[in-house]
Amino acid sequence: MTTSRRDFLARSVQLGVLLGAGAPLLQACGSGGGSSGKQVTKSIADGLKPEAGPLRIFNYDSYVNPDVVKAFEDKYGVKTEVTTFTTDTEALTKLATKAVKADVHHSMSNNSIDRLIAGGIVQPLNKTYLTNLGNINSKFVDPWYDKGGKYSVPYTFFGTGIGYRADRLDAKQVEADGWDTLWKATKFKGQVSVLDDNREALIMAMLRKGLTDVNTVDQKVIDQALADLTELISLVNVKVNINAYKDLPEGTSSIAHTWSSDLINAANGNLPTGVGPEVLGFWHPPAGKYMVTNDSMGVVAGCEHPVLAHLYLNFLLDNDNAEKNFTFVGYLPALKKFTSDYVVSQQLVPPNLANCIPTQDEIDQGLYMKPLGAAGDAIWEAAWSKFTAGG
């Protein structure tokens, strides 16, 4: 197709106008995006009436009992709206860019709470609204990630260990082998998994070698952990997921590096008909070498319903509501009442999985994942990327 001189000149002028208009437009755009605000230091005033709602909850999928949420709605005569996210990073990004309007951040991880606080995403709590604070486990009253518990209350806590099919593996051998169980599982090739998390699996490889500094940023240590973890690809055809809660009871997985609460979930809701919880087993390292993690709840800064949000947090800190929630999510509430003896006696957890409930000693001496800073995160994320790419 030929172009006439007139057409060429017309199009050149149009392009010139466009570019000319575009430059100032781009200048005006600047560097917008999910920029942080300042840390919020002022909480809401005392004695305010609850808003009319709806209360907007931002949470992982299926991480709160709908019946408990309904009970809250009935008690306060409000509606709720639940928006879900799939990863901690996604949650932070959506709140930072205000892509989501939320009142309650239901599941803040220890890795990101510092950023949520410093970046002005969550606001300080007014504890006059939180009459159930006395129920909280002592370890989480003044946690390392939120001194004085000013911005958060704990939601759930759990440990990381090995879930396995007790009808296929000898429990005593698992106890003796510890983390080596995964490396020795050549008989179960294709039925072994590690957690899909930037840090958990690499930490497991470090703990296996007796290293307990789970927040190291030493490149050599992380490279060695990567090398050890990579062995699992050829040895056992390892998978990377967070599906142990269903794969173990279904039988498609025999050994899983997983969270303790996944075994509770597996036993309470995912076993095939006629199969009892005795087919499941859980191993974890002793106190002092046991990774413990907890999720926390907070009130989003500048939200429309802060009083309702406070009341919701308080509602979930109530022992009865927390117990009802536990029967659905399988993750233990971070409240004093929920000891191993209590949950087993109430038949909330089968006796053979009592060790899925961290003891107070294990909680107090637990190893906790802490923020590493940008450079530290980059090292771990690069190592994890290499592992998932095939080593």
Partner: protein, 291 residues
């Protein structure tokens, strides 16, 4: 007057393609908030920083990400071959031989679209279990001895999943081309002494090349970015990790969104090369046809 009718299409293209690509570039060449570590896009090219994409290019050409790209390429190539092997005979039958059943067969071909892609993959994870119906069927037909674990992270399962998921997209445009082939050309071939196979190879197949190319493009473009087929069918095995999985990892699971966005741009550049070849072939064929 007539160019005005192009405005909605051009507007759509600008809003949902040009702006989206520019947004990805702004993230890839932007920075990260020092506190939140979320993406801070750089909308003004004068502020662009190319260090993230340089790092990713270094990892792709000679680093650990190179094998992910190679693996993805082979998965897509094998899946395309599978789509041709399965889809071409189906499209040919519907276009040339189905007769009165054509409408019914087309409806059946479109039926999988009624169910979400994810649900179909989840259904297959059930069927491919060691005690699933696939193993039982293969055993009954004496095609297999002990049950095989299809979900243990082997590439064949991923390729099968990609073929299954994308073959309907392959069949429909190919059917459209085959259906438009003038039957008299095929008759002429037979009349001039060519056998059925020779007529197919020398008349039908060359005439179906534009449809084959279009169907291939429609199929392989989304395959290159696919990440959920591998995730669902192999439960995240590192042996089957594709570029889409690495993009998902960096965008949703790390504090380095620029790396994820850079991977998107590199993948797009690679796909542009393939698209350029497709466009060149199409234009060349159009010129030959015009003569």
């Amino acid at each position: 007057m007539w160019p005005v009718f192009a405005v909605p299409g051009v507007g759509w293209l600008i809003a949902f393609f040009v702006v989206s690509v520019y947004a990805v570039m702004a993230v890839a060449f932007g920075s990260v908030d020092p506190v939140l570590r979320t993406a801070v896009p750089a909308w003004n090219p004068a502020h662009w920083d190319f260090s993230a994409i340089s790092e990713v290019l270094h990892r792709v050409f000679g680093g650990d990400l190179g094998k992910v790209f190679v693996r993805t390429f082979w998965f897509v190539a094998a899946s395309l071959a599978g789509c041709i092997a399965v889809g071409y005979p189906v499209a040919y039958y519907v276009a040339r031989k189905a007769g009165r059943r054509r409408g019914l067969v087309l409806a059946l071909l479109v039926l999988p679209f009624w169910i979400s892609y994810l649900m179909r993959m989840l259904a297959w994870t059930n069927l491919l279990q060691p005690d699933g119906i696939v193993n039982r069927l293969l055993h009954v037909l004496h095609l297999q001895g002990p049950p095989r674990n299809w979900l243990d992270g082997n590439p064949q399962t991923v390729i099968f999943g990609l073929v299954y998921g994308y073959v309907p997209f392959f069949i429909l445009p190919l059917y459209s081309t085959l259906e438009r082939i003038d039957g008299r050309l095929i008759e002429a071939g037979r009349d001039l002494g060519a056998s059925a196979i020779q007529t197919f190879l020398r008349v039908t197949l060359p005439l179906s090349v534009p449809g084959l190319m279009a169907a291939s493009v429609i199929t392989i473009l989304p395959m290159f970015g696919d990440y959920y087929t591998n995730t669902y069918l192999t439960s995240g095995s590192p042996k089957t990790d594709m570029v889409g999985n690495q993009i998902e990892h960096y965008l949703l699971g790390t504090t380095q969104p620029q790396t994820g966005a850079s991977l998107v741009l590199i993948l797009m550049a690679f796909l542009f090369v393939l698209m350029a070849y497709y466009m060149y072939t199409t234009v060349r064929q159009q010129r030959l046809a015009d003569r």
